[in-house]
Subunit: 409 residues, 2 copies
């Protein structure tokens, strides 16, 4: 790469203090898969009794590790498990050799840790179309086993970074029947986008005791409201992976009736999703787009994503221009139901377009002041029904072009 | 506006020499709708016997003139007709007042020219959500009537520009049964995109004698292969309009059997469509994307548009980077059928990815040389069936950000 982008202006002040999750241990190493002088491999060991759930990219050209995870995630095993992640090479579009490389890595972890290979999940992120030098990862397995520690989650968040400008973590604690259950998660990604088509990876750990099917449905539903509601530039990666491990080490059983746990899981996932958007390439504004009054929730999300992915809307926000005409355009092109004469638009608290017409006498000053802020709130009401959706994105700036066009791979 | 973008580096050397089309007269005026010191209104008078056909934006928030044109275009009238176009204000998202403004303009043209208002078609392009000062256009109608001339097409192409960096025109002549039929067309648009959400407008004139239904089906089919196959940034305007007028003044009857005429019409429309892409905001490369071997033509177009609209693909091209991994990503996310292990990709003549794997020993030098050129050819073969599509786009550069974010409206 020709250079490293500077720290996102939307970065949090520091990596959060994450709790230890009983039953989860971490180790990282410098395998030199592509990067030099930094950690690039992560090993996670999960105690016996762990339930695993996962959500993966729907790309038709998804990577070998994603295909391997998908084949394994539905099994009912609850023996010890492991996760191996490398950065620098995504092992995507690597044909049969890619599958062999994935098996070499998961097989080595299984042997070294003495666990079933069907319980070893792997992810790879970074450049695509290059053979994965899997032996460099395999060679570090014993070293990482010896270094496993419950305290390693902050180091883990750093080892999985590619073009991220900061590591991403979030946590929550929930009281259930007088006992405490903990959730901690890490993520990587500069939106769905990066110079080498690096990707989004998310790992969430909890000591709650949860049946696999219950965990999977919780994670899938929550993912639809969090990670599936963010976009930087509409480019979906070949490697997107979210894995959630419930070790059960707290002994506290959680079912789909425990709304407090589901709310906490949602909070952790939403926090991580927002951190990914805040590290969007070139981002200078964090943007929330809320659509109400749509004919259905699905229509609301179609409109919201059409607005969030519109280059004209995103450049207007970068220019601090309350250009609601571009919102009208994005609603009009989305394909979902809309009626021009029922459409209303707010920037922050300011109603700028009211039922198909420029709102009479809206305060341009109030609008301009809102656009100068770091967080932009856009609300669109379609006046058609009860459908709602909220999505998050960032602006489109010269920084995005610099990262993706000026720096040559 | 904070500034005017410089002439596109992809602009043609000069405006072409367009033939006079019998039965068509043009006049332009400086009405001061928004711009000062330039023409911004166009009046076209079409002789008795003219057949009209049109293609319009499918936006759910389309403008008042588009709705008015759509209501009129299907009628069977063949009396004299007229087209009125203004730049600087799109009369979109202007509610009931917008419809009244459109009627004021078309009504004035009908009165002044003594023709049926149902045969007066209007277009407006420019800023949206602002009331159209229609009286400024109405006030120029007599002056324009007096100035009508068969020679005014080059001036017409200039009057309809908004953020275009050059006027766009194309023509063809066809021999039918020993007689000559002429086609001439003009267009405006910097892609589908512009600072004030200006839009694409196209007007095509021929002296062929063609039934309205035949003309409409020719124009619709050809539009699907030309204007509907270009994109600058996936943002579809609220005002896109294509009108085609066949005056019949040559006396040469054309039917759907005259493939020579259809080919010529296709050539004119494709030339204008390419000129629009070459004036795409910030464009430095003209890009052709050809998809073959898809399960269907529709699938091929979905893949081609997914590639053409991918910010990662477009920034890679701007950076002269033969980043075929981003092509794989765009195919994978498109939603249309694809099989990673049958996918092959060419940049220019160079096969870079062969059946799901980096092509062994492809020439990086040949690839790099191709990427440095002004015209980039990308071909993707899916290896699944006989579906094909070709689309055209431009790269995504700092110029795009500057035009849409740095220059404030």
């Amino acid at each position: 790469m020709g250079g490293t982008p500077p720290l996102s202006p939307l970065a949090p002040a520091a990596f959060p203090d994450l709790p230890v999750i009983d039953g989860v241990e971490f180790a990282t190493a410098q395998a030199g898969v592509k990067y030099k002088g930094r950690t690039d491999v992560l090993l996670v060991r999960l105690a016996e009794g762990t339930s695993m759930a996962g959500v993966f990219t729907r790309s038709a050209t998804r990577s070998a590790p994603v295909l391997d995870c998908q084949a394994k995630i539905g099994s009912d095993g609850t023996g010890p498990a492991a996760i191996v992640v490398n950065s620098g090479n995504s092992n995507a579009f690597t044909g049969k050799n890619g599958i062999a490389s994935t098996r070499a890595v998961t097989g080595a972890a299984a042997r070294v840790l003495g666990i079933d290979e069907g319980r070893v999940f792997s992810s790879s992120t970074g450049v695509i179309g290059e053979p994965l030098p899997h032996e460099r990862i395999v060679d570090k397995m014993e070293e990482m086993k010896a270094a496993l520690s419950p305290d390693g989650i902050a180091a883990a968040a750093r080892a999985i970074m590619t073009t991220d400008t900061y590591p991403k973590g979030a946590s929550a604690e929930v009281r259930i029947d007088g006992q405490t259950v903990k959730i901690a998660g890490i993520a990587k990604g500069s939106g769905m986008i990066a110079p080498d088509m690096a990707t989004m990876l998310v790992y969430i750990f909890t000591d709650a005791l949860i049946d696999r099917n219950v965990l999977q449905s919780m994670v899938s539903a929550t993912s639809d409201l969090t990670f599936n509601c963010i976009t930087v530039d509409s480019d979906t990666s070949t490697s997107d992976t979210l894995l959630c491990a419930a070790t059960g080490a707290s002994g506290v059983r959680v079912t789909d009736k425990h709304t407090g746990f589901i709310d906490a899981l949602h909070g952790v996932m939403l926090d991580l999703a927002h951190q990914v958007v805040r590290d969007g390439e070139g981002a200078t504004k964090f943007v929330q787009i809320q659509v109400t009054g749509a004919a259905s929730d699905a229509d609301a999300k179609t409109h919201a994503m059409s607005i969030a992915n519109s280059p004209l809307v995103k450049t207007a926000i970068a220019g601090e221009d309350a250009n609601w005409g571009r919102i009208v355009m994005a609603v009009g092109k989305s394909g979902a139901a809309a009626d021009r004469d029922r459409l209303s638009i707010w920037f922050g608290e300011e109603l700028v377009a009211d039922h198909g017409w420029r709102a009479p006498g809206y305060s341009e000053e109030a609008c301009a002041a809102h656009m100068k802020g770091e967080s932009i709130d856009i609300r669109v009401d379609l006046g058609l029904g009860g459908g709602t959706a909220t999505v998050w994105t960032c602006d489109l700036t010269h920084g995005y072009i610099s990262i993706n066009a000026d720096y040559r791979s």
